[in-house]
Structure formats: C-alpha cells, structure tokens
C-alpha cells in the first residue's frame, strides 16, 4: 500500500513536464508576435515563457529520476540502481542544473514587471547578462556542493517577496484609498505573480509563519541523502517567514478589497490557499509525532491519508496551479497579442490544453483516494471535454476582449521611462536562454561522465 502511495506522489510529473514545455513554446511564439506591447510586458512574457520551458525540462529529469527510483535494487552490473547511483547521475545533475537556470531567470521577473525597477535602455542586456552570469556560477557550484546549499540558491526568488509585496500594497492602497483608476490591474497581476511563483509554498503559510514547518527540516536533515548545510537550512528559516508573511499581506489585502469592492475570482483563489494553509497547519500538528520521529527516535512512515493530502495540495499547486496562473497572466494581462495573425489559434490550443489537462489530472488525483471505476472517470472526462469545447469560445472571447494592461496602468499612474527595445534584443535574450539551457545540460552530462562524485 505504501509503495502504491509513493507512486501516486509523482503521477503528475510526466503530465506537468509535457504541459509546461508545450505551453512555454506556444507562449514563446505568441510573445514574439506581440511586437506592439509595452517593453516590460513583452519581456516579462518572454521570461515567463522561458521559465515554463525550463520548468518542463526540469520535470522531464524529475520523471526519469522517479522512474529509476521505482527500479531501485534491480538491474545488474553497472546498471544496478542504488539510490547513490541515481543521486550522483546525469539525471539529478540535469534536474538541479535546470532548477538553477530557472531560479536565475525568475530572479529578474520582479525587477521588470509589473512595475519596472530597471528603467534603462539596455535593460534587456543587463538582465541577460545577469541571468547568464548567475547560471554560469550557480549550475556547477550546486552540483559540486552536492545540492546542499539549496536554501542559499532559493534566495534568488526573494526578489519577488521584496519587490512585489510593496508594489502590491502601493497599488492596492492607491485603488482603495485614492481611487486610482487602473491600479487594480497592477495589484491583481502582482498578487497573481506571487501566487504563481510561490503558490506551492503559500499553502504552508501558517505553519511557516508560526515556525511549525521547522519540524520537517529536522526530518530532512536525517533523511536526506546529503543533508542541507547549516547555512542553507538557516537561510530557509527566513524564507519560511517571508512566505507566511507575504501571503498574509495578500490575503488581508484581498479581503479588505472584497469588503469594499465585492468578491471576485482572485479572492476565491486566495481564500482557498488560506484555508489549505490552515488545514496544513492542523495536519502537521496531528502528524507532528511522525515528523519529529527521525530526530527523537527512528523515522516513522507518514500516514497514508497525510500523503494523499500532500499529493492533492502541494503537487496540484505546483504542477497544475503554476502553469494555470502564469498562462492566465500571459493571456489576461495583455502580454501577448492574441488577436494577431495566427495567434488566435495558438491561444485557443493553449486554453484547451490547460483546461483539459487540468481536468484529467484532477480526475486522476481523485482516483487515488476514491475507488471510482475507470468507466465513470472516463465519462466524467468526456463530459468535461464537451463542456470546455462549448465554453471555449466564451472563454476565448473573455480572454481576448476583457484584458487589462498592468504596464499601461503603471505608465498612467506613476509614469515610467520611455524605453524602446529592438526586436533583436529580445531575440538575443532568447538565444541566451537557449545557451543557458545547453550549458546546464552539458554540465550535467559531462560531470556525470567524469564521475566527479565517485
């Protein structure tokens, strides 16, 4: 039973890798066709598209690792799979290298969108050099240190906590207290960006804020093949507070807005995360004994239902929530020109792909806990397809016509420098991203073939 459960943990991985890569590539095409958008909208769209592609490639490696873990203790000769042989392999190196590339990329997103902190003519060049430099250093160091400084690596995404939180508050207060027109576009897209970037951490907001989460870090020190270093885990303690604190800001901000302007979809999403966070806190308390068993006595296995809960919340938030939110931002906040020639069809495919994959994955997840026969789930899925095809036109119309531009709002409300970016610079950025991915993959393969940890 336990084995079946742990298999179910990663059922979403292969789906997630395909979805991320497909959506990322389609979004790249759309962004390159959207030449009339504000520079930071276009650049952010480009960055998000590349982030999706890199995440998808990272999940390909994670899928391969999972597949090998299922074969632990099998094989023969040099093909005998032990945990060590998987940990020190091109798969783990590749997964980690792409994760480093992802963090190097996402670090600059808050600096350019929705409110650009870098307002210089050569902003794309600066960002490209930053991403390349960080990846150049981070990819090999992460592998050299046997991934024991992840907490330090994750500091790259702190830029989002530090920049987006005051930007969100600035425009939320601007709308609610000073009736600034268009400020909502900025505050809502900022909240969505934070949910997209940190959604999978936000579901632990209460236990992170209260410090209950530290019990898991203690367990990981004992359980992990190579434990996180003192510095790395200490830095993670601060990140826990940042996660809990910034989510609380969004929740209170959206609740305040809901009271004066009415309830909307973003409120519903934030409230859902809030409730999931409270439940996670309570369930961690319930399973506290199991969690700290590794430190006090001997590691106890997790309760089966607790594992199911983890699959339902963390994995769904990470593998389905992230692409859903980022694609919604791309389509709904005017980053791509979905009306351009040929773009409408790609947008339509993106929307359908997202909706259908989300539906089928959720049905798959439900099957983990409820023994529903496949006939019924197939019928449910078919029903979902029919509904989505029926709604597709309506959803598309809504996306195309009811878009709001956060960049335009920022320009009107606070003003930004008038910057013109040449198409060639965007292409240069894309080429740099391709080079970064190739570098990461090459490092992974070379390090493995040279056996740096053997």
């Amino acid at each position: 039973m336990a084995d079946e459960l742990y298999e179910s943990l990663n059922e979403l991985l292969p789906v997630a890798s395909v979805v991320h890569i497909a959506l990322g590539v389609m979004a790249l095409v759309l962004v390159h066709r959207s030449s009339d958008r504000e520079w930071n909208e276009r650049f952010a769209g480009l960055l998000i598209s590349w982030m999706m592609v890199i995440l998808g490639m990272q999940y390909v490696f994670s899928t391969l690792i999972d597949y090998r873990i299922e074969q632990l203790g099998t094989g023969s000769g040099s093909g005998f799979f032990t945990y060590e042989s998987i940990f020190y392999s091109w798969m783990t190196y590749g997964q980690s290298a792409l994760e480093s590339a992802f963090y190097a990329s996402i670090a600059i997103l808050p600096l350019i969108y929705p409110y650009p902190l870098i307002q210089k003519k050569n902003v794309v060049k600066i960002c490209t050099i930053f991403v390349l430099s960080v990846a150049l250093v981070l990819v090999p160091i992460d592998i050299f240190t046997e991934f024991s400084f992840r907490g330090v690596k994750y500091m790259l995404i702190w830029s989002g906590y530090i920049v987006w939180t005051p930007v969100y508050l600035r425009f939320l207060f601007g709308e609610l207290l000073y009736e600034e027109e268009g400020a909502r576009a900025v505050s809502s897209v900022t909240a969505l960006l934070m949910l997209g970037a940190y959604g999978q951490s936000y579901i632990f907001w209460l236990q992170n804020l209260t410090g209950v989460s530290t019990v898991y870090f203690g367990r990981w020190v004992v359980e992990d093949f190579v434990a996180q270093s003192f510095l790395s885990s200490s830095v993670s303690m601060v990140q826990l507070a940042l996660t809990g604190g910034t989510f609380l800001v969004i929740f209170l901000g959206e609740s305040w807005r809901a009271m004066s302007r009415g309830f909307n979809t973003l409120n519903a999403v934030v409230s859902l995360v809030f409730v999931v966070g409270v439940l996670w806190y309570l369930l961690t308390l319930v399973n506290y004994g199991d969690a700290e068993s590794c430190v006090l006595t001997a590691c106890q296995a997790w309760d089966e239902n607790f594992v199911d809960w983890y699959v339902f919340t963390f994995q769904v938030a990470r593998f389905l929530g992230v692409p859903l939110i980022f694609m919604f931002i791309l389509l709904n906040y005017n980053m791509v020109d979905s009306n351009a020639e040929g773009s409408k069809m790609i947008t339509r495919i993106m929307v359908l792909l997202l909706l259908l994959v989300a539906t089928s994955s959720l049905i798959e997840m439900i099957q983990i806990i409820l023994p529903i026969p496949e006939m019924i789930t197939s019928a449910l899925f078919a029903g979902g397809v029919v509904v989505f095809i029926g709604w597709e036109e309506r959803i598309m119309d809504q996306i195309i016509t009811e878009t709001s531009s956060a960049a335009e709002s920022v320009k009107e409300l606070v003003g930004v420098a008038d910057i013109r970016i040449q198409d060639g610079e965007y292409r240069f950025f894309s080429m740099a991203m391709v080079a970064m991915v190739c570098y990461a993959l090459l490092i992974a393969v070379l390090f493995h073939s040279m056996g740096i940890h053997s």
Binding site: R170, G174, L209, G211, T214, F217, S233, M237, G245, A417
Partner: protein
Amino acid sequence: MSSQEAEKVEWSLADIVGEIFSIRESNIAASIAVAVILISGGSNLFGWTQTEYAQAKEAATDDQWLIEFNISVSTMVKEETWQDEEKKVIEFYMDEFVFPDGYYIGAVKVIVKPDADSNGTTLDPIAQCDSIGANIRNDGELAAQWDFEDNVLSGQDSSCEWIVLSLQTYPGYEGDDVNSSAANEFQALLPWSESGWGEGVLAVEVELDVNTVEELGPVTQDDDEDITIEVEVSGFIASAMLIN
C-alpha cells in the same frame, strides 16, 4: 507624477523606489508586514540555529554503541523412558519458561542425557551404551533462526555422552556483547527489541537404539533406556553504552 517626468528616457533607482513607497498608508502596512516577517523569521532562525539543527544533526550522525546483554536462563527438564528403536517427540511450550518483564528469548539449548547407569552397573557390568539420536524439529511451531549456520539441530551418541543441541531464536543473538553503529540509544537498541522470537512450541525428537550383549548379560535384558531432556532457554535484555 507629471507627464513631463513620465516622458523621461531613464529614471534613477531612487525615483523608481520612491514611487513604490509614495503612499503613506501603504508604507505603514508594509512596515507591519516587515515587522511580522522579522519576528517570525527571527524566531524560526533562533530555534533552528540554537537547538533544532544540532538535534537533527546529532540524530543523523551515527555513534558507536556497545550492546550489552543481561542474560537470564530458564530451565525445564523432562525425563522419560524409551523402548528399543522407539522414536518420540517431546514438546516444550515456550511460554512455560519464565523470564522477568522485558526479556526477549535469545537462544535455546537442549541437552539430551542418557541414563547414568547405562554404561555398566554392578548388576550388569558389561552393559553397553545405547545409541541415541536427537534433533530439534522445525515443524513451523517455533519462531526462530532456523537457517543460522551455527545452530546444532541434530546429534547422535553411543558413548553415553550428553548430546547438546542449540538453536538461535533471536536474530543475531549469540550471547556476547556486540558493537553497533546508530544515531542514538533508541536506534541502537531497536534491533534488540523485536518481540515474537522464541514463541511457540519446541519439539525435540529422540530415537533410541539399545545396544545389548544378549549372551553374556547375567541378569537383565537391556531393552529400554531412561533419557533426560533438559532445555535451557536464554532470555536477554539489551542495554546500550556509548563508546565514542
């Protein structure tokens, strides 16, 4: 922000950051958020760096432990008479061996003792030792380490010596202190706290083949034998002592 300013080609970072913090109420809210994050982060960091990390690291690091066994032996004796060429199975119910609370059954020792007079007496001075075969039967009734290579599960004797059989019941138990590598005392003792081993019924099969000198025996015809079966069960309780 005037429209002239908005048309500037490049802005300084101070101008840009200044715009983010241009609303007083928003700054107050941001300050409260920073305070909450500092308190929470400080508390998390303090707990982790002062105690939790050290505890976890300690739990993750293996120490060397000396596992000492406090041994208690419980004995049961059965004496029966075997006829020539008779084979009998004598059963010992393991729950009839009494041990203090918390003890686990480590090993079983079976001693098959032939009659002390069988090697000649004043009445029958030329009587010969009988041939006795004994074995501990593995009929699935006793939870023990049947495949342990140092077990002595069968024996035979025709010189009036005792037949000594042994069976390890608890995995790895040989009666001597052992060294162990474990993160803490609990984990060091974990392999020595499995209940269930040594439970069930011990079946000892004994077969007798009488050796007699029919023509010269003056008084009695030797066609039976009194055999004593003594079972010693070793119970243990383990304690761990940190070596380094």
